[in-house]
Symmetry: C2
């Protein structure tokens, strides 16, 4: 019962973070969307920052669920492509929460949240392993530091090119995904 309610809250936060970002999101909106009073929200989560953290934990769990179902025997680079594809799909569907990386109180809350930190670490370890394996097999560029490749993947979750292309309205979501995915792995140069 409590779990169901908190899920509803975090779901609403996720949607609002994806739609308007952390600063523009208000706690009143969250409460209204869930259909409870604002004061009730604060019984579940102590601050707006903690609401955001819960949304990030939620999306990371979904990512972990997706990752855990990928074939262990596939080429590492193919699994990495699948993860980036999943990220883009979530973003294109308007379900990817984004946070301002400059906000210090928000950063402090995230850093102090074990669920967030552990999830981030686990995902980074999993992807990092695939990255190094792919580099060893010469499927990903061995000259780039693995951490730079990892960050490049993470940055796809907030890549403005997706919004630009969606706002332009010239391409369907499926094609946007393919273009960004291609650009990410193959680059803009001709082959």
């Amino acid at each position: 019962m409590l779990q169901v309610r908190e899920d509803a809250i975090v779901h609403a936060v996720n949607r609002l973070l994806a739609e308007k970002g952390f600063d523009a999101m208000t706690v009143d909106e969250v409460a209204a969307q869930v259909g409870i009073a604002k004061a009730s929200l604060y019984k579940h989560f102590p601050s707006k920052e903690d609401l955001a953290a819960a949304a990030m934990v939620r999306v990371m769990r979904r990512a972990q669920d997706f990752i855990s179902e990928l074939p262990a025997d596939a080429a590492p680079v193919e699994n990495l492509r699948a993860v980036v594809r999943w990220v883009l799909q979530v973003k294109l569907a308007g379900d990817m929460p984004t946070l301002p990386s400059q906000n210090s109180s928000l950063r402090a809350t995230l850093m102090g949240n074990p669920d967030y930190m552990d999830g981030l670490m686990e995902i980074s370890d999993q992807l990092g392993g695939w990255i190094e394996a792919a580099q060893a097999r010469n499927e990903l560029s061995p000259t780039l530091p693995a951490i730079a490749i990892l960050y490049t993947f993470y940055a796809r979750a907030c890549d403005s090119v997706v919004e630009f292309l969606q706002m332009g309205g010239l391409f369907p979501d499926e094609q946007i995904m393919e273009m960004v995915l291609t650009t990410c792995f193959e680059g803009l140069n001709a082959r």
Copy 2:
């Protein structure tokens, strides 16, 4: 005299937008940084949105200045690389103002600002010409729509991977620039 003061204002706005973003920037801060009263600011610019627009016009002018000095006889792709390099340099120096693309009142102000719209159009035409020329010479992938390539360049101005790598503190700015530039044009795959 008025021009000098307004330059100082826009310069301060540019710095604050680069540092903390539109939502976190306050008009009080801008006034304090310039050293004038907030009410005086509003004699020069009618709203916070117009302040942001002026900062965007400023950075676009600087981009146009840079573009206009590029060799007309160089390979188009080389000029494009130089532009992306310039963008990354500005961003790495902490001088690239960024705006939330979801904010509707801000978008309306930008759309209604002829200086902004004209500058954006001019830059897009210039880069678009190079992109199509590069594709015709098979220097850039001919299968990608030119507009998608253009947006991919624009998105480098707010690519989070730069912040991630800078926060990590593992690489000097020069190396970050080369990694992002390489990833952008060559992709993550091994060659």
